[in-house]
């Protein structure tokens, strides 16, 4: 390498140069922007859930009582936007955009993503999608009320004739743009992973996080166009006189549900699969052992991704499907428990015989494994249409998917955050504060969501701004849990501020011999451009 090229390589643009961010083609800078964006969106999504828990703390209308926060419609808007923001603008950007962009190239020994400029547009579409989504809350939705309050699933006719205002149109455009962003990102990841692995890194030597992102982006690429189609049909039903979902014109509202869930079920695996990858690395690193059953782990994710496409109608057991069809979807859905079980047991087997060190990321990872198991077994309960007839659209479902997402995906994100924090930012964090955050999150999230199983079994329906008095006690407990988790959230920002002020220089590899993937061979933070000479994998 010539001296000139070497100096060029070392040239890192200033933090304060706007062009570094707006015109960025660097996968690490773009990854950082995704992470910051996800934190920002997470604050808004979390605040919306705070309004909901505040309202539900006691029977009657406390918050959405025609005062400052609006009426019952605005509660529905809060549930809807909480779901959409957390899914499309928090978990996906953090896991795929943030950690994916940062660590897929580093782990496969590539200098950058395959299409760096496309990477830029993938990210910069997102803030605009987000602005459209937030704007939708402040324009008329149903009647004179602001925002779209039809649930994140956007079922017609509530999302067509039921919401005559422009809020829903803004939301459709927002999701279209977010979808384009994700599809572009997916193409980028697939090309990068297939073509830019370092010499010697065969597909069966790829780190599991790269495997998880690969499966995830395939799911995105195959499912998002279906969502885009359904959204476009909603748009034309609303504005151009078509009747895809309007029975008066020969359409069928249930067709929308099939299209939506054909996207929606793979989507929930999109949210959790990268988390599986992250957890595998953390468990292996802190047990000082290679991951147990590597191939089984990789192909379990492939199997979960594949089966994820053929189980969608288990979200629709009550629409009046033929009974044999329901029987098929029960069987297919329960099969998912098998590869998921393989993953849980393989993580435990990785720890078995290991020399486990309880550093901050490991605490989050162990918490994840347990909580994901709880969410998993209630998923097996819900898979059975017979019981689902009692539990469908109750708080049992809310508890189930928050155990796998709020306690699963989010715990995986925090595990990854504290695993790679030093690598990304080049400074150490206060691990005592971070562990304290874990404690508050673990207790808080369980106090929020475990009682919701009881509410669901007792029959409390979802998306209710006010409930019968018989549901009061566990709702109160649930809100107490929210306050505990809120303390954890404050601690998260304290960790950030503390790290920012103290600026203790990070080590290249803070985790020792257990951390074997390529990102730990680089400095923390890595050079602006890495692997100009490709590493050779034995």
């Amino acid at each position: 390498m010539s001296a000139e090229a070497a100096t060029h390589d070392d040239h890192t643009p200033s933090m304060w140069d706007w062009r570094r961010w707006v015109l960025s083609t660097n996968h690490k800078d773009i990854g950082t922007m995704y992470l910051v964006f996800a934190i920002f969106a997470g604050i808004i999504g979390g605040a919306l859930s705070g309004l909901m828990r505040w309202e539900l703390m006691e029977p009657g209308l406390q918050v959405f009582n025609n005062g400052f926060w609006g009426n019952e419609h605005n509660y529905n808007v809060a549930t809807t936007m909480h779901g959409l923001i957390m899914i499309f603008f928090m978990v996906m950007p953090a896991m795929i955009g943030g950690f994916g962009n940062w660590f897929v190239p580093l782990m496969i020994g590539a200098p950058d993503m395959a299409f760096p400029r496309m990477n830029n547009i993938s990210f910069w579409l997102l803030p605009f999608a987000f602005i459209l989504a937030v704007m939708s809350m402040f324009v008329p939705g149903a009647g004179g009320d602001m925002g779209f309050g039809g649930g994140w699933v956007l079922y017609p006719p509530l999302s067509t004739s039921g919401h005559n205002g422009p809020a829903m149109d803004l939301l459709i455009l927002s999701l279209h743009i977010a979808g384009v962003s994700s599809i572009l990102g997916s193409i980028n990841f697939i090309t990068t992973i297939f073509n830019m692995r370092a010499p010697g890194m065969t597909i069966h030597k790829m780190p599991l996080f790269v495997w998880s992102v690969l499966v995830t982006v395939f799911l995105l690429l195959l499912s998002l166009p279906v969502l885009a189609g359904a959204l476009t049909m909603l748009l034309t039903d609303r504005n151009f006189g078509t009747a895809f979902f309007d029975p008066a014109g020969g359409g069928d509202p249930v067709m929308y549900q099939h299209l939506f869930w054909f996207f929606g079920h793979p989507e929930v695996y999109i949210l959790i699969l990268p988390g599986f990858g992250i957890i595998s690395h953390i468990v292996s690193t802190f047990s000082r052992k290679p991951i147990f059953g590597y191939l089984g782990m990789a192909y379990a994710m492939v199997a979960i991704g594949f089966i994820g496409f053929i189980v969608w109608a288990h979200h629709m057991y009550t629409v009046g499907m033929p009974v044999d069809l329901k029987a098929y979807f029960i069987a297919a859905t329960m099969v998912i428990a098998v590869p998921t079980g393989i993953k849980i047991f393989s993580w435990i087997a990785t720890m078995w015989g290991g020399s486990i060190e309880f550093r901050t990321p490991m605490m989050w990872a162990i918490g994840f494994i347990f909580l994901f198991t709880v969410g998993g077994v209630t998923g097996v309960v819900l898979a059975n249409a017979g019981v689902d007839q009692s539990l469908h659209d109750t708080y049992y479902v809310v508890a189930h998917f928050h155990y796998v997402l709020s306690l699963g995906a989010v715990f995986a994100i925090f595990a990854g955050w504290y695993y790679w924090f030093e690598k990304i930012f080049g400074v150490k964090y206060n691990s005592i504060l971070a562990r304290l955050q874990f404690a508050f999150f673990f207790i808080g999230a369980n106090v929020i969501f475990f009682p919701q199983h009881f509410l669901g079994l007792q029959g409390m329906p979802r998306r209710y701004v006010d409930y019968a008095d018989g549901f009061a006690f566990w709702n109160y407990v649930s809100t107490v849990g929210y306050l505990i988790m809120l303390v954890g959230m404050v601690l998260f920002f304290l960790v950030l501020i503390d790290a920012m002020i103290r600026r203790r220089k990070a080590d290249a590899n803070p985790w020792g011999e257990g951390a074997t993937t390529l990102e730990w061979t680089l400095s923390s933070p890595p050079p602006f451009h890495q692997f100009n000479e490709l590493p050779k994998i034995k």
Binding site: P253, I356, N384, G386, G470, V477
Partner: protein, 287 residues
Amino acid sequence: MPDLYGEAMRFLTALVLTWTTAAAGALATPGQPTDGGLGLQPAVTPIMERVTSFHNILLWIIIPITLFVMGLLLWVMIRYNRKANPEASKNSHNTLLEVVWTAVPVMILIVISVFSFPLLYFQDEIPEADFTIKATGYQWYWGYEYPDHEAPEYISSMVAEEDLTGDQLRNLSVDYPLVVPVDATVRLQVTAADVIHNWAMPSFGTKMDAIPGRINETWFRVTEEGTYYGQCSELCGIRHAFMPIEVHVVSQDAFDAWVEAGPGSDEANAVIAEYTAARETRLAQLD
């Protein structure tokens, strides 16, 4: 600033009260949620009885699995932490183990499906019905029609909080409830006029989407007289939480008198109120 100490004490008192009363015996009133309740509402139909026993079976499967995973995690945390085990083994394969943890879950799932499928078909295959009720979801109330009794549709709306009387329940009681005879097999047809609603009755194990342009069918046979409450279970707009369902299950004679008086009329309501009051007196005497 909220009174944190007061809130905390209130919370603890409620916690202790609920759990001691729960331990003192089943306080659950059939047909409505019990504050602090942990399980399904008491079953009053053959379907819900089967749902409840199937759910109990599932609990016997999922709780041990969860405890097993928790036990394994605790064990590795104690036995294989760095102090207890400074040298990590390098083993990363065990074919037998991998086969076992694939095969055993498969067998557990087969056991579950042995119970699951019969329940599914029992729910879905409607037996010979004594009569039909048609429920139509509107934003935001229900319309009920008894075509076999040539009773025209009447509207059933929630009783507003300020209008509650007697033992009516906030957010659950309606002005003109549904009435069915005890032990009658009822075919329920559900549809909607505007957006999707859902007719749900926890103690019956009934939950059926009401979809515009479609008629969905389900059935129930209530084996105990009483008053049962359910709620709309598909998001339908601003007053989604305020279109409850109330079903009075009465004797065949009382039902006939109710039909005679004209469903959806105050006279018919009076027939049911009188019958219910008489039943409560009777029950009180039995005690």
